[in-house]
């Protein structure tokens, strides 16, 4: 375990050293396209141009960023949506040649003074959901892309053979080169490309290179993630962060891109040329001090990263165990953060971008791989983060070393730990019920807790195994669910209720059953069931701070908009509320962390020279959020039918689950449904479950009504042209499309609120049908 104050040259990790013949690898490359560009400085957070690479035509072009684009879309994910809108069709699917993989930055991306400012925003049409998926990811790529000269990178078309795209900010060139001899799996490829492209054979030169890559798992599944590297000068290896959700790595490999390399000439603290560097430094120092003084008493991110959540979730019955059947587990303490703290290397600045003192990117160095093609090698394993640990508790894997093994292979194979874990957990539950068997699973014994089988599943998938089960299972829960139902192997209702996906994407790792607002936070979303739009469990369930539908709808308006804002700017959300000022609880709205909101206002003004208020930040997000929803509608999604969530996320699917929380469910039947206690005693458990099922399904529909209304959408969840105009959009193609959709909904009778209202209750507009449209 490394101790502090060791000169950087003397750090050792014990990792296996790889030796490659760099000259041979380079000689085997063929240059397919070259583009030379004028190097210039980033001004006030913007490079003012984007880069487009067409792999079919082998063409590289630059596009200007207009003032209008900045005003309407701000940057980051907003720019990504604008570029997609200009390039794809409503019929574009993930593997269509015109589908784009976009990596964007945002005006605040790359500042070093405020923590969490190195995020790239990645967008594409997802293989899982067939609609837009946006993912944020740390690592050096975003900042370097901008410092090399571009606010965004668009990749369209497909190459005929494996290629690398090299953006050389030192030389001012962009090239597409064949990559026949390069590795594919990320823990090797990221290191290989870093060494190949660093200007000198020094640690500092390697730190100026960042790689985007995926892996062999991404080639054979819908779970491909993008690994974004950040070279660690102490560990002397290229570490990685993941844009995990929605299969973006699958698209990278479908386009036959092995890696994207970006290199910069220089990194200093003012690469963005902010309007007011003094202000920026002052706000930064203030929050760094807060982290210094308070982190260890709050989230303890600097010690264990997001893994601190495991014990909290377990205590509050929210940790997903055995495919979300339970929220806590007797063995869960084996995965509590102290167990991982013992394994992490200490005393190293663990931010995934310079200046992030929240430093949640923990690693285990010298981890000896136990299975598969890299068995026996030693590697630095990034994480595990909470979601990865949650994915393992979901599969009932309770050994920290198996969590590391799962984490290592997911990363290097380029697959998402969340989707992989959640999907396998579903297969395991089906296996437990005898719906899936060893025969039906290509010989895999997928019972809960079988770590060997999980790893074998992954190795076989990554090696391109064409077994029937593996071919379906690697495409996720929705495809397996339909496959089981089509074969008549299990009761349809049970299979549908247990499969934890919505919109085609697997759930992330929180049990949402007992918080209606959190169900909305997962279901009433743009890209799928994901906690990055709203995390309201504590507000709703623990503190009961948002009791009415109106309160919940307000929270499901404000928080998704607020959280969207980070993605427009290239920022990480964690320094917003995973560290709080000491007096935050005494403020008028503690969940919003008002002082930090003001910090962000100050930071955006200091970088861009604008004069925005906190309300303007929400407006920036509202534009982008509604635009993305409208684009989903344009692609035939983004409506009430698409906001469906499985019952496992709403309530107890099986008797065992009901019994595990019997007191809570019985009390709800008495208090909320008015069933007298004596009568309840006479009801069999399945009858009680049925009553709860109907009640909770209706609650969800009523919540959707309230939220759609608050967001300015129709009862079918479509943003109205009036709303879009009020946000400043004048694009007639968009406005016309929305009106046509609303007219078609009107004819189909879909402009009616979805909840069943009785007694004094009324839908949001007072009447069943929305007549304002």
């Amino acid at each position: 375990m490394a101790h502090g104050q060791i000169p950087i040259d003397e750090y050792t990790t014990g990792n296996t050293t790889h030796t490659w013949d760099h000259a041979k690898i380079k000689a085997a490359r063929k240059r397919l396209a070259t583009h030379t560009y004028t190097k210039r400085e980033v001004q006030r957070g913007y490079a003012d141009r984007t880069l487009a690479v067409d792999l079919t035509a082998m063409k590289i072009t630059e596009k200007p960023v207009t003032d209008d684009m900045k005003r309407l879309f701000t940057g980051g994910r907003g720019f990504g949506l604008k570029l997609l809108w200009d390039s794809i069709k409503p019929t574009t699917r993930w593997d269509s040649p015109e589908n784009e993989l976009i990596i964007t930055t945002g005006p605040l991306c790359g500042i070093t003074q405020y923590p969490g400012a190195g995020k790239s925003l990645c967008l594409s049409i997802s293989p899982s959901t067939n609609t837009i998926c946006d993912c944020n990811v740390g690592g050096f790529f975003g900042p370097y892309l901008k410092f090399a000269g571009f606010d965004a990178l668009e990749i369209q078309g497909k190459a005929k053979e494996d290629v690398v795209i090299v953006i050389d900010g030192e030389a001012g060139t962009v090239t597409i080169e064949t990559a026949p001899l390069e590795e594919t799996d990320s823990h090797l490829l990221a290191e290989q490309l870093t060494y190949l492209h660093a200007s000198e054979a020094t640690e500092r030169a390697r730190q100026k290179v960042s790689i985007v890559s995926s892996g062999t798992g991404a080639e054979h599944s819908y779970w491909g993630c993008l690994n974004v590297s950040f070279y660690d000068i102490r560990r002397k290896c290229a570490r990685m962060k993941q844009a995990g959700r929605g299969g973006l790595g699958t698209i990278l490999r479908d386009k036959k891109v092995k890696g994207i390399v970006v290199k910069v000439e220089n990194v200093d603290g003012l690469g963005n040329h902010p309007a007011d560097p003094e202000k920026l430094a002052a706000v930064g120092i203030k929050i760094h001090k807060e982290i210094r003084d308070l982190d260890r008493y709050q989230c303890n991110m600097r010690a264990v990263g997001t893994g601190h959540l495991v014990e909290i979730m377990d205590a509050y019955d929210l940790l997903p165990c055995e495919n979300y059947r339970f929220g806590s587990f007797p063995k869960a303490s084996k995965l509590y953060s102290p167990k991982f703290y013992e394994l992490f290397t200490k005393i190293i600045p663990d931010g995934c971008w310079h200046g992030c003192t929240l430093a949640c990117a923990k690693t285990v160095d010298g981890y000896q791989v136990k299975t598969g093609p890299y068995k026996g090698q030693k590697a630095t394993v990034d994480g595990p983060e909470y979601e990865t640990i949650g994915a393992c508790s979901n599969m009932s894997l309770w050994d920290p070393l198996w969590v590391l093994e799962f984490n290592f292979y997911c990363d290097t194979y380029g697959i998402d730990t969340i989707s992989t874990g959640t999907a396998i957990a579903f297969y395991m539950e089906m296996y437990e019920y005898g719906i899936l068997t060893r025969d039906r699973c290509d010989g895999l014994e997928l019972c809960f807790g079988n770590a060997d089988a999980v790893l074998e599943f992954m190795h076989r998938m990554a090696s391109g195994d064409t077994g029937t089960f593996l071919s379906v299972a690697s495409k996720g829960i929705r495809r397996v669910r339909d496959w089981i139902i089509a074969n008549g192997w299990g009761p349809r209702q049970l299979v549908e209720d247990c499969g934890m996906e919505s919109k085609g994407l697997e759930y992330s790792e929180y049990v949402t059953k007992e918080s209606l607002a959190m169900q909305g936070g997962y279901g009433l979303t743009l890209k799928g069931p994901q906690h990055d739009e709203a995390w309201l469990i504590f507000m709703d369930m623990v503190n009961n701070a948002i009791p009415t539908f109106k309160d919940k709808a307000e929270a499901l308006h404000y928080f998704p908009m607020w959280r969207t804002w980070f993605g427009l700017n290239g920022l990480c959300k964690l320094p917003w509320n995973d560290i709080e000022p000491a007096d935050n609880a005494q403020t008028s709205e503690p969940p919003k962390v008002p002082e930090h909101v003001q910090n962000y206002v100050d930071v955006q003004n200091a970088v861009t020279g604008w004069h925005v208020t906190k309300e303007d930040l929400i407006l920036q997000s509202e534009r982008c959020y509604n635009w993305q929803r409208a684009m989903n509608v344009w692609m035939g999604r983004g409506q009430r039918k698409d906001d469906w969530i499985p019952y496992r996320s709403m309530g107890p699917v099986t008797e065992m689950e009901y019994v595990s929380r019997k007191d809570r469910y019985d009390a709800q039947l008495v208090d909320k449904l008015g069933i007298p206690k004596q009568e309840l005693e006479k009801l069999e458990i399945p009858k009680r479950m049925q009553r709860l099922y109907e009640y909770r399904q209706n609650q969800y529909q009523k919540l959707a009504d309230a939220v759609y209304h608050r967001r300015g959408w129709t009862p079918n969840g479509v943003p109205t042209p009036q709303k879009m105009k009020a946000l400043g959009f004048t694009d007639t193609r968009m406005l016309k499309m929305l009106q046509q959709k609303i007219d078609a909904d009107e004819k189909a009778g879909l402009n009616e609120w979805g909840g069943k209202y009785s007694g004094d209750e009324k839908p949001p507009t007072g009447v069943k049908r929305n007549t304002d449209l």
Binding site: G4, R204, D268, G269
Partner: protein, 149 residues
């Protein structure tokens, strides 16, 4: 690079100080080529009720393990130095120094600190400042990011 055995640390003798601040002026001359002292100086002489106090880096080096780009190193004399060419101006060291000895520079993004150069020692008319070699083990501090308190 072998660890230094001792560190050169600035020592203050308040009984000899007259509060003339010649030391601060000399310091700002070293760092920013100005005689202004104050914010431009890496050391501050603070007047309390009946005496003076020195506020400057004691070379404990907690910042060394914080720098993401390795711009902070301890040299062979045990002095903690910032390489401004490597520094990316994140201010983490400024905020995390428990005694506030790493300072935000008024005119540039890279911070600055006492480098035990001796300019202040030479400038002090009453010999209130000295440079002393202290065994590194008495100077050096490491803080683990502990679990909880």
């Amino acid at each position: 690079m072998p660890d230094a055995a001792t560190a050169k640390v600035l020592r203050f003798h308040p009984d000899r100080c007259t509060g003339c601040k010649e030391c601060e002026k000399a310091c700002s001359q070293v760092h920013f080529k100005t005689k202004e002292g104050g914010h431009f100086s890496a050391l501050t002489i603070i007047k309390t009720n009946d005496t003076y106090q020195l506020h400057a880096c004691d070379q404990r080096g907690l910042c060394l393990d914080l720098c993401p780009v390795g711009a902070l190193t301890r040299n062979k004399n045990g002095i903690v130095l910032l390489n401004t060419k490597t520094c990316v101006g994140c201010q983490a060291c400024v905020a995390f120094c428990p005694i506030g000895a790493m300072r935000k520079a008024p005119t540039r993004i890279q911070p600055f600190k006492c480098i035990s150069c001796g300019a202040c020692v030479r400038a002090c008319p009453t010999h209130a400042l000295t440079l002393e070699d202290i065994p590194l083990q008495n100077v050096r501090q490491i803080v683990y990011h502990k679990q909880g308190v």
